[in-house]
Structures are given as structure tokens and as C-alpha cells.
């Protein structure tokens, strides 16, 4: 079983936890990561782990009043490394992990649980101001600037009287200069909406028929290139975001990846064409996107339209019988990855031979 040409996914370290873990994130510029979750007694928890001698060492455990659903380092500087979290009560907090007793920033952002959070403008990723976007079950998507207390800097919500869809996922993108920035949000009914923050307009929307579990741009800090959206029934869609057709929108390719829900998608920070999807049955799939020969063509009326490429499966493994709830690539070490699953486990994975693709 040696001398593989394909990349291999190695379960390097596994650790059982005594709480339900929802999210895990690498602390930038370190061998540490945080896990966020929910104690059985109904409180929230953040744990900080470090890889030491091939094992995980718990550095810090922080217990908070409300279960924590999601977190991001995306809007913090490399020097500060503050963690922004969203909890079950709709609060957005920013924590200094060195002094976690009082949040650096706190706002009751939503009426209900914050399902998803994303940050941009920090860590040297994305031009422009540091901003955090949160998506909630109350149907709103709000953008926050840590420098402004209490109020969001942008609020995308349904019109009064219309039923509110549960927002499951949010993602920043297109932050290639100081002005441009988009937020993409996915909803439980399969809607994907792309909001242009510069113009404060809805730039594009589509429906992929099934709830959108996870959305991610291949990179946040370049002119929109690709967007991957995963769905409840095991499919994912890759949109080529470079060419927008006035009626047809963006070209996409879809692939049936897992036999169950695809909970997460994460692009490799060192190579945007590779991404990992995490499935409801505990499986991980590593994909590669290949561009078509021509990325755009003219339709019958001479309007430019995108051409989708293809995806190929590089590797797949099954880690657990329970869904994998979160996934994060190390921004510093190619191929290093953590994932958490609902069997209360966190795993450090190594994916080999990624540089050869």
C-alpha cells in the first residue's frame, strides 16, 4: 500500500471531547487551534489546543453562558488574533484568547442563533476594513465592523411580512481592493444570494433546490473566481464567478459527492483549485477543479457567458459514522487540517502530496 501517486488523507491525531463541538479553527501563525461547542449542561465552551509531540495539549478552556455555534479569525490582525464567535442567543462576541473573561467586542446581533460567521480584512487576507458577517436563523445577514459598536454596518434582511428563511451559511469574497467586497449567503430553502457591499445591492441570486449548508469562495481576496456551495442532499455546486451573464448568471458544475448532506467545504489556502468537502456520513472528499479551455464564451446574442470546468475526486476517506461538522485547513502548513465531528471528536489530519497537484 505504498508509493501512492494520489494524495493521502492521514488521521494524524484524534481526541475525544466531553461536549458537542460545532466549529474548529486554526489560530493563525501557530500550531494551535480552537474548538467551539456546547456542554451538555447548556453552556458554551471554547477550547484552545496545541499540537505538542504528536499529541494535543489543552491550553485553555473558556466556558460561556450560551452555546457557541461558530467562530472566525478572519477579521483580526496577525498580531492580535482575536476570535469572533456567534452563539445560540444571537450574540456576536470578539474574544482575546489571552484574556477571555470579558469580550473585546460584544453585540446582540440577532434575535436567534447565529448559524454562520465569516471574517475578512484581517490576517493579510482581503483588502479594506476588517469586517465580520453573521447569518442567523432570524433570516438576516449582518456585516459588522469591530470599530463600530452596537450597530451593523450593513444589514441584509427580508422585507417586512415575508417569511424569513433560515440563513445557514455566509461567506465573504471579492475583496481584492479597498472598495470591492461581496457577501454570499445560503438559506435553508436552497437560495443563494450574492450581495455587493460596495453598491449595497443584490448582485445575483439562484436556488439550488436544497438547503445550502456551506458556501466558500476559493479566495476572499481576489476578484471573485469560484464559489462552492454544498447542499443538504449530498451535492455540491462550483460556480465560475468571473463571468456573469445577465440572465443565466454564473456558470456552474455540480457533483454528487456524498450519500448524505455535505456539511462543509473548505479550499486549500495554498492552492485554490483544491477543496475538501465533509459529508453527513463522516466522509471527507478531496476535489480538484479543472478549468475549461476557454473560461468564457459568447452566447447566441454575443453576450459573454461563463463556462464551467470540471471537478475530479482526488481522494476520499471515511473518518466517522457521525457527520463532520466543521473543517479547517491550516493557513501556515500545507496539508494540515482539523475537523470536528458529532461523535465529539476532533481530528488533526495530514493530506500528503498536495504540492504535486
Amino acid at each position: 500500500m505504498s508509493a501512492f501517486e494520489k494524495p493521502q488523507i492521514i488521521a494524524h491525531i484524534q481526541k475525544g471531547l466531553n461536549y458537542t463541538v460545532f466549529d474548529c479553527k486554526w489560530v493563525p501563525c501557530s500550531a494551535k487551534f480552537v474548538t467551539m461547542g456546547n456542554f451538555a449542561r447548556g453552556t458554551g465552551v471554547i477550547q484552545l489546543y496545541e499540537i505538542q509531540h504528536g499529541d494535543l495539549k489543552l491550553l485553555r478552556e473558556i466556558e460561556k453562558a450560551k452555546p457557541i455555534k461558530c467562530g472566525t479569525f478572519g477579521a483580526t490582525s496577525l498580531q492580535q488574533r482575536y476570535l469572533a464567535t456567534g452563539d445560540f442567543a444571537g450574540n456576536l462576541h470578539i474574544w482575546n484568547l489571552e484574556a477571555p473573561e470579558i469580550p473585546v467586542y460584544s453585540v446582540k446581533g440577532h434575535k436567534e442563533i447565529i448559524n454562520a460567521i465569516d471574517g475578512v480584512g484581517g490576517l493579510g487576507i482581503g483588502e479594506g476594513a476588517p469586517e465580520i458577517v453573521t447569518g442567523s436563523r432570524d433570516g438576516t445577514v449582518k456585516v459588522w465592523d469591530p470599530r463600530q459598536k452596537d450597530d451593523p454596518v450593513a444589514n441584509m434582511e427580508p422585507v417586512q411580512g415575508e417569511n424569513r428563511r433560515d440563513c445557514w451559511t455566509v461567506a465573504f469574497g471579492n475583496a481584492y481592493n479597498q472598495e470591492e467586497r461581496v457577501v454570499c449567503a445560503g438559506y435553508d430553502n436552497g437560495d443563494i444570494k450574492l450581495f455587493d457591499l460596495r453598491n449595497m445591492s443584490l448582485r445575483w441570486e439562484t436556488n439550488i433546490k436544497n438547503g445550502v449548508c456551506s458556501l466558500e469562495f476559493d479566495r476572499k481576496d481576489i476578484s471573485m473566481n469560484k464559489l462552492v456551495a454544498t447542499s443538504l442532499e449530498g451535492k455540491f455546486h462550483v460556480f465560475d464567478m468571473r463571468t456573469q451573464h445577465p440572465t443565466k448568471g454564473f456558470a456552474s458544475v455540480s457533483e454528487k459527492a456524498h450519500k448524505s448532506t455535505v456539511w462543509q467545504v473548505r479550499h486549500l489556502p495554498q492552492n485554490r483549485e483544491l477543496f475538501l468537502t465533509a459529508g453527513g456520513a463522516g466522509g471527507l472528499h478531496l476535489w480538484k477543479y479543472e478549468y475549461p479551455i476557454q473560461r468564457s464564451k459568447k452566447d447566441s446574442e454575443g453576450v459573454e457567458m461563463g463556462v464551467a470546468g470540471s471537478v475530479s475526486l482526488l481522494q476520499n476517506v471515511t473518518l466517522s459514522t457521525q457527520p463532520i461538522s466543521s473543517l479547517d485547513w491550516s493557513p501556515d502548513k500545507r496539508g494540515l487540517c482539523i475537523c470536528s465531528s458529532f461523535d465529539q471528536m476532533v481530528r488533526v489530519l495530514i493530506v500528503t502530496k498536495l504540492h504535486k497537484i
Binding site: M1, A11, A129, N177, R242, T318
Partner: protein
């Protein structure tokens, strides 16, 4: 009843899930089956075990499927994650060690980062853009078009506008404001990416991180083929922290973009930082190769091969370069042999220059100086003509001429650097023969005989026309040397005829020039072109050929001048356009930003020549295979041409070169006058050039094609504003805002125009008052018994009475004219003359009442004049509007169809125009079922109001 109930019909029956005949679950069947879908189904059935458990058959089926479609989803299996045991001890050690070393490394670095924590933070803050406008809300709804406008801070467009958004139109427009552009342009973002990153307040670690990150973005862009984007990101990376890898990668991206010079510089940087960097050496060799510095390329490649003897790429490139070098060597050998000849040639050339100038008056053409200022620069030309290089891009087939005569001397980029050192003259047989051939034909037969390339002896004397057609044939079949021979013979026969056959001679020279050009005999080509141009100034083909020859000789300035001249004659020639762009780049590289100053003046082309270019020349020389001289002649489809012209026009507008853009668009319209966008674009150019009347006409055209074109409407408003027709401008702006309420510029303009309108209204009313008073005074002076009734009356017929008074004509109001319905133009003319001599509005109104409006154009025939027209308008306004508005409307409508109407409109004064306008306003105020407001508006447009 389904087939399932009758298994006998299906032989052994079918499987449950996919209804596959059971006999398909068989080794032989599977082996032959090549239907992937079917095999997948079979595999699914076998795996499910519903027809029994056959492990071997399943495996066989998997193999078969794997061989047909290795990517098949059915073959995906759940696998456990790999562990240490999945690898050999060695491999595992490597993987594990890699992680361990990284962990210890990152820990060290992490500690370093945190030393700086507080000091640098404030500097970072300062760089950040301000907080986004507070609480901008965006309401999202499913029915996105049926909702109230959200409270947004900046709202270029709301959802409803997206609905109206016509992308095609939008695409074809050149938007003055790029930020408003909502079309996703693949390349548009490139210009918006900052090429520098502000690194103030960043630690070394962060800079390193940033630089790596930007480089990775560059790598990704490179891999997906976006080389320009890649260059941008590498540049960013370098701006943070210059690294060898970033320079090296940027060099590679530049090579892909064929920016040899930049690539060369980047390689140089790398080699400065790390002498002997193999990648940089290889890449520099590539740039040398393409810049035709073959010796240097070989040196670099040898260096690479010293270190890495097995480097495939280096070997390949080396062999290519050596081949190129060999190809150029025979030429240099002939150069050695032909040295004597070459001296002769230089003399020849010099003599010829003398001859040329001496000959000039004889020819009687006399316009040589005017026609060819470039000729002034030609004295230097023999000196530099040896400097033939491969064309820089190597794109055109001209770059690979196997029988190219001149040696490649790449060292000096500037033309004329070789001048001093007795430059190698074109030593090809072609040129050897070319000069005597050109030399007034005396030595021509001898030269033809001396031509080594032609096996056949020169044919028996034929007529020049016959020789020419033979030459054309030979040219088409690619035998350029022999074709040149025929042409030379023809020239020799025609030469004595002198100016009588100047046209034919010109064509022959031009054709021979084409042959020389093909052969690579650039100097010969240039000389022939010169002669052709002497005989026939400003013909396109010789100019083009000369330009190509100059370009090949690296005399870019001259080439540029020639191409520009060609473009003046016919700006649709793609080849010339491309070349001008290319040469501009080269010249900028060579001479820096002030390159234009070194150019000799570009001759102004007389319009006659331009016109001539429009008619496909009857004297078209043979069309060459690869030489796409002229679009017209090659019959490139109009559509392509149209697009190209439009693109060029748009480019010109972007460069703020409105005059050129104007001509491009005008040409577009000659091809297709139904394209709305061209009119609006041309209108923009007119606006920019301050030609408002033309702009307005173009907008009118555009609006005729598309009544709801916002751009056209807006631009017409601007034109009206320029023409000081503020009212119309106002109307147009209102229309614009009606179509699209979010156009900020329109709102601004509207305010401005309203302001101007108010001012004008004020001045107008005051002037009217003045007028009125003046008339009163006059009347008093004249001492007329007829007292004016009310001042209102005075104001309305002020003009008429004024005229009447100044002409001192007797005012015979009392005597009524007997007016009958006129039956023809003559009768009408009589009546109207009588009326206008008395300024009798009532009589005129009567006449208008009894005349059928639709007969008016016929009755007026071509006699419509300002005075008559004004009288008609006044009587309509004062006498008829109250009684019968629909008749007034009808009259106005039909008046606008009369002959000379448009012409007359341009002649009438502003005051008169105002009167018409008042009439229209009255008409608008009196609603009627016979016409609608829109009709009036449309008519108003006819009256250019």
C-alpha cells in the same frame, strides 16, 4: 400489466431495481458491454446482492468499469483514513518529521510575533479605510421586483432597475464612468488591483506571510491562465518583500505575455540576487531567443547545461536557437562573398538618391515633396538597412523567412547603430537584381539573367500586361523571385513610356516590392515602394509594404509614420492598426515617453486620397496569400469590419481621441446604420468636440431606432444644453429620469439646466419688454393713425409689424383680399405673396382654414421661405388656435413635411423659434381628441424644439 408479470417475455426475467435482463449478469456480457451507464447499473445490482452474491463477478465488473471509465462514481468506495501503517517507515518518518519540524518552527516564530504586539498596532489602524456607512440596509425578498425601495446609502441601482437592465446596450456603450459599469468584465478588475501593498507597521513575519500569500495568488492565477493577473500579484508580492521566487515567476508570466523586455529585466534581478539561478538563466535565454540575441541565448543555455546536463527544456531551446543561428549564417556568408557587390549597392543607392531628386522635375509630378516628407529621412536608410531582425513577436510569418538575405544583428536595439560599420547590405539575389531593376531599367535584362534563383531564361519579350499577369501568377504560387523578375521586365518595357503609364508602373513597382518583402529584401522593397509612391502618391499598398519593410529593418519611426499615413487614408486596415500599436510600444521602450518628438512629421493626406480609398481600387495589384493589406479588397465580412471599427472607435474614445473615434464611428454607420449604440457613441464624440448640432442629430437617429435609449436621451439633453435650448434639454432630461430615475448625472444636469432656463426666461422676458417698448416708440415716431389696441397684441405681432414698419410698406389692413381655395402651387404662391406683402394674418388664417392641411406640402412646393413660414405660424397662433386646434396641429404636421422645411428651420432666428415654441405650448394646453400630447411632443421634435 407490466412486463414484470410475464418474465417469460424477457427470458430469465429482469432484476428488480433497474430491470436489467438477468442474463446481463454474466462474464461474457460484461466483458463485451461498453455502455458505462449500463455497467454501473449492473455493478449496483451485483453489489446489492438482490440477485445473489457473486464476489468474482462483482470484481470483474468493477475492473471492466474501471478500464472503461476510471472516474465512474460507482467505483468510489468508502475508505478509512490512512494511518502511519499505510506508509513505509521511511515515508512516515518524512511526513511525521515534516509536521514536527513545522510545529517547533512555528512556535518559535509565534513568540517573536508577540513581542511586537502593542507597538505596531496603531500604525496598522491608520491604514484602514473608514467604517462602512452605518446601518445600510438591504432588504431581500423573493419577489425581488415588487417591493419598496430599500433605504440604502449608495444606490446605483435597485432591483427593479436590474429588471430593466439591458446588458447588450450597456456593453456596447462606452461608459464615461467606469464605476457605474455593472457588467462583469473578465479583465476589468485587473486595473483596480493595487500594485503596491502598504506595509507600514507590519512585522517581518507578517511581510513574509503577505509576500508568500500574494505570490501564491499569482501562482494560482498563472495556473488558470490569467497571466496578467498573475503579474499583478507577483508585483504585489515583490512590493512587500522582493524574493527570488516572485521575480522568477513574474518573468515566466511576462514570457507568457510575450513582454520580453520585462521578463528579461526580472531574470536580471534574480541573477543579481542569486547568480546562476537556473530558472532565471533558462528564462533569460528564452527572452534572448525571442529578442533575437541568439549568441547570448546560447551562452545562457550552456550555463544551464553545465549544471544540469539533462535539462530537457534547455536542450530543446538550445537546439532551436542553434537552428535559428544556422539559418542566419548562410546569409552572413553570402554577405562576405558579396561584399564587393554591397559596396556597389550603396553607391547605387546613393546615386539613385541623386537621380531621384534630379528626376523629380522631369516627371512633372512635382508633388513629391509634399507627398513624401518621409523621403527626407531616407538618406540615412542605406546605412541602417542591414539591421534586419526577426520581427519582435515572431508572430507574423515574416519572422521566418528561410531565404532571408540579411544577417541578424540583434545587438543594437536602436536602428542605425550599425550605420557606421559599413552595414551588411541585403545580399540576396533578389536585391541584387532589384537595384538595377530600379535603376531606370537600363541594366534590367542583365540583372534578370544574373538571377541565380531563376532556372528558366527570361521569356521572350511579352507585353508589359502579360508580364505582369505572369508575375501575379508566380507570386500567388509563392515563387517570389521569379515574380519579381517578371515585374522587372514589365517595368523595363514601360519605363521609357514615362508618365503616360505612371499608374501601371506604380502597380508594378508595388507588386515587385511585395515580392522583395516576401523574400526579405527589405531595402529593395522600400526602394520600389518609394518609386510606386512617387508615381502614385498615397496608395495604400506600397505604403503598407514600405512600412512592413521598415519595421523588419527596425526602423520603427519610419514604419510608424508610414502606418499612420496608411491609417489616414483608410483607417479600417487592421494590419496597420495592429502594427501601429505594436510599434508604439516598441518606440516607447526604445525612446521613452518622449518618443513622439523623434518622429518625422506624418504627412497629411489630401482628402482626395481618402476618398479614393473608399472605392475598391480597380488597379488592385495581385492579392497576396498571407498579406492582409486591406479589408475591403480581401472581402472581410462587413460585420467583422463593423465590429473592428467600433472597437477601435471605443478605444479612441477611451484615449480621449474623439476625432479619430468620430471617423471610426462614421465608417461603422456606413456599414450598418441601424445600430443605436454607434449613434450614441458618435454623439458622445460630437459632444466632447463641442459639435452640438451633430450630436443632437445623432441622438435623434438613435432615438428613432430605440425610443427608450437612455444614453441617447441624455446626450441629446447635453446637446440641447450646448445649443442653449434649455427647454428641450429639460424635456430630454425629464425623459431620462422617467426611464431611469437613478441616474445621478441626469439629476445634476436637470438642476443646472433649470437654473439656466430661469435665467434665460428672465432675460428673454426683459428683452421682450424692451422690444415692445421700442415698437411703441417707433409707432409714435411714425405717427400712424391706427392706434394699437392692447400691448398684448403688440407683443404678439411685434415681428410682423416691425417688418412692416421698417419696409415702410403701406399697411392696408382695411382692404380685404379676395381669397379662394388655391388648386395648385402657382395659385397658392400668388395668394401667399399677396398676403405676405400685407402681413395680413387674418387673410392668411382664412387661407389656411380653407386649404386642406395635407395639400400644403404640394402647394408650397419648394417655395417655403422664412417669411412665409413665419406668417403661417403667426396666423395659426393668433387666429386659428382658439377656433380649431386640431386644424393647427394638422397644418403643423404637414408643414413639417414640406420641401425645404429642414433647411428653413436652420435659417430662422431664435426669436422666430420662440414663436413656434409658444404656438406649441398653446397647442399642448388645449387638449383635443384629434391629437395627443405625445403627438405634439413628436411634432415638436420635428420642429427641432
Amino acid at each position: 400489466m407490466t412486463a414484470k408479470d410475464y418474465p417469460s417475455l424477457w427470458g430469465f426475467g429482469t432484476t428488480k431495481t433497474f430491470k436489467i435482463p438477468v442474463e446481463h449478469l454474466d462474464f461474457k456480457y460484461i466483458e463485451k458491454c461498453s455502455d458505462v451507464k449500463h455497467l454501473e447499473k449492473i455493478l449496483c445490482v451485483l453489489r446489492s446482492g438482490e440477485e445473489g452474491y457473486y464476489p468474482e463477478l462483482t470484481e470483474f465488473c468493477e475492473k471492466r468499469l474501471g478500464s472503461l471509465a476510471p472516474e465512474s462514481r460507482a467505483l468510489r468506495k468508502e475508505k478509512p483514513a490512512a494511518t502511519a501503517s499505510s506508509f513505509t517507515a521511511e515515508e512516515w518518518e518524512q511526513i511525521d518529521g515534516d509536521i514536527k519540524s513545522w510545529v517547533s518552527e512555528i512556535k518559535k516564530e509565534e513568540n517573536n510575533v508577540h513581542f511586537h504586539e502593542t507597538e505596531t498596532f496603531s500604525a496598522m489602524e491608520d491604514n484602514l479605510p473608514p467604517v462602512r456607512g452605518s446601518n445600510s440596509r438591504l432588504h431581500v425578498s423573493k419577489e425581488k421586483y415588487s417591493k419598496s425601495k430599500p433605504a440604502k446609502k449608495k444606490i446605483p441601482r435597485d432591483y427593479a432597475e436590474w429588471d430593466k437592465f439591458d446588458v447588450e446596450k450597456e456593453c456596447s456603450k462606452i461608459d464615461e464612468d467606469y464605476k457605474e459599469k455593472t457588467i462583469v468584465n473578465n479583465k476589468s478588475h485587473l486595473s483596480k488591483i493595487e500594485t503596491r501593498i502598504d506595509t507600514a507597521g507590519l512585522t517581518e513575519k507578517e511581510k513574509d506571510f503577505l509576500a508568500t500569500h500574494e505570490k501564491e495568488k499569482g501562482n494560482e492565477a498563472f495556473n488558470s491562465g490569467d497571466y496578467e493577473e498573475a503579474v499583478t500579484y507577483y508585483t504585489r508580492s515583490i512590493s512587500v518583500l522582493p524574493t527570488i521566487a516572485a521575480y522568477n515567476n513574474r518573468a515566466q508570466a511576462e514570457i507568457k505575455l510575450q513582454n520580453w523586455n520585462s521578463a528579461f529585466q526580472d531574470c536580471g534581478k534574480v541573477l543579481e540576487l542569486e547568480p546562476g539561478n537556473l530558472k532565471a538563466l533558462l528564462r533569460r535565454a528564452t527572452t534572448y531567443k525571442h529578442q533575437n540575441k541568439l549568441q547570448e541565448a546560447i551562452e545562457d543555455l550552456r550555463k544551464v547545461l553545465e549544471v544540469e546536463p539533462d535539462n530537457e527544456l534547455a536542450k530543446k531551446t538550445l537546439s532551436e536557437v542553434e537552428r535559428d543561428l544556422k539559418n542566419s549564417e548562410p546569409a552572413s556568408k553570402t554577405q562576405m562573398k558579396g561584399k564587393r557587390m554591397f559596396i556597389q549597392e550603396v553607391e547605387d543607392a546613393e546615386n539613385e538618391d541623386g537621380k531621384d531628386s534630379g528626376k523629380n522635375p522631369e516627371d512633372g509630378s512635382g508633388d513629391k515633396k509634399a507627398a513624401e516628407p518621409t523621403g527626407a529621412g531616407r538618406a540615412a536608410e542605406p546605412g541602417a538597412m542591414g539591421n534586419i531582425q526577426k520581427k519582435l513577436t515572431g508572430k507574423s510569418e515574416g519572422g521566418k523567412r528561410p531565404e532571408r538575405g540579411a544577417p541578424r544583428r540583434g545587438r543594437a536595439p536602436g536602428a542605425g547603430a550599425d550605420k557606421r560599420g559599413r552595414p551588411p547590405a541585403p545580399a540576396t539575389p533578389g536585391s541584387a537584381n532589384g537595384h538595377p531593376g530600379g535603376g531606370r531599367g537600363a541594366g534590367d535584362p542583365a540583372a534578370a539573367a544574373a538571377l541565380p534563383g531563376s532556372g528558366a531564361p527570361p521569356p521572350a519579350p511579352v507585353s508589359p500586361a502579360g508580364l505582369k499577369s505572369q508575375g501575379n501568377e508566380l507570386f500567388k504560387s509563392g515563387q517570389f523571385a521569379e515574380a519579381a523578375l517578371r515585374y522587372s521586365a514589365a517595368i523595363a518595357q514601360l519605363e521609357p513610356a514615362g508618365s503616360g503609364s505612371a499608374d501601371d508602373l506604380s502597380v508594378l513597382y508595388s507588386n515587385r516590392a511585395a515580392c522583395y518583402l516576401k523574400e526579405g529584401n527589405c531595402s529593395g522593397c522600400i526602394q520600389d515602394c518609394n518609386r510606386a509612391l512617387e508615381l502614385h502618391p498615397f496608395s495604400i499598398k506600397p505604403l503598407l509594404r514600405r512600412a512592413m519593410a521598415y519595421e523588419t529593418l527596425e526602423q520603427y519611426q519610419k514604419a510608424y509614420v508610414d502606418y499612420k499615413t496608411v491609417l489616414q487614408i483608410d483607417c479600417g486596415i487592421q494590419l496597420a492598426n495592429d502594427s501601429v500599436n505594436r510599434i508604439t510600444r516598441i518606440l516607447m521602450d526604445l525612446d521613452g515617453p518622449r518618443w513622439r518628438e523623434k518622429l518625422s512629421p506624418i504627412p497629411a493626406v489630401p482628402t482626395a486620397a481618402q476618398l479614393r480609398a473608399w472605392q475598391p481600387a480597380a488597379e488592385t495589384p495581385p492579392d497576396q496569400v498571407g498579406d492582409s493589406c486591406s479589408h475591403h479588397q480581401l472581402g472581410v465580412t462587413d460585420e467583422k469590419m463593423f465590429k473592428a471599427l467600433k472597437e477601435e472607435g471605443n478605444q479612441c474614445v477611451k484615449d480621449k481621441n474623439y476625432k479619430d473615434a468620430l471617423s471610426k464611428y462614421s465608417e461603422c454607420l456606413k456599414i450598418n446604420n441601424k445600430e443605436c449604440a454607434i449613434y450614441t457613441n458618435r454623439a458622445l464624440c460630437y459632444l466632447k468636440l463641442g459639435q452640438f448640432e451633430e450630436a443632437k442629430q445623432d441622438c435623434d437617429q438613435a432615438l428613432q431606432i430605440d425610443n427608450r435609449n437612455v444614453k441617447a436621451c441624455y446626450r441629446r439633453a447635453l446637446a440641447h444644453k450646448g445649443l442653449k435650448n434649455y427647454q428641450k434639454s429639460l424635456n430630454d432630461l425629464n425623459k431620462v429620469l422617467l426611464l431611469d430615475s437613478s441616474i445621478v448625472e441626469a439629476k445634476l444636469e436637470l438642476e443646472e439646466v433649470t437654473r439656466s432656463l430661469n435665467i434665460e426666461d428672465n432675460t428673454a422676458s426683459s428683452s421682450r419688454e424692451k422690444e415692445r417698448r421700442k415698437i411703441e416708440i417707433q409707432e409714435v415716431n411714425e405717427g400712424h393713425e391706427e392706434p394699437e389696441g392692447t400691448s398684448e397684441e403688440v407683443s404678439t405681432d411685434c415681428l410682423a409689424s416691425e417688418k412692416g414698419l421698417t419696409s415702410n410698406g403701406p399697411q392696408e389692413y382695411c382692404e380685404k383680399l379676395p381669397i379662394t381655395k388655391p388648386n395648385n402651387a402657382y395659385e397658392f404662391g400668388q395668394v401667399i405673396n399677396a398676403i405676405s406683402s400685407r402681413k395680413d394674418q387674418e387673410a392668411c388664417a382664412h387661407l389656411l382654414a380653407i386649404t386642406e392641411p395635407k395639400d400644403m406640402p404640394m402647394l408650397l412646393s419648394n417655395k417655403l421661405e422664412g417669411d412665409t413660414f413665419l406668417l403661417l405660424i403667426q396666423s395659426l397662433k393668433n387666429n386659428l388656435i382658439d377656433k380649431n386646434p386640431s386644424l393647427v396641429y394638422q397644418h403643423l404636421l404637414h408643414l413639417s413635411k414640406a420641401e425645404r422645411f429642414k433647411m428653413m428651420l436652420t435659417l430662422i432666428s431664435k426669436g422666430q423659434k420662440e414663436q413656434i415654441e409658444e404656438l406649441f405650448d398653446d397647442l399642448t394646453d388645449t387638449p383635443n381628441k384629434h391629437f395627443t400630447l405625445e403627438d405634439v411632443q413628436a411634432l415638436k421634435r420635428q420642429y427641432e424644439l
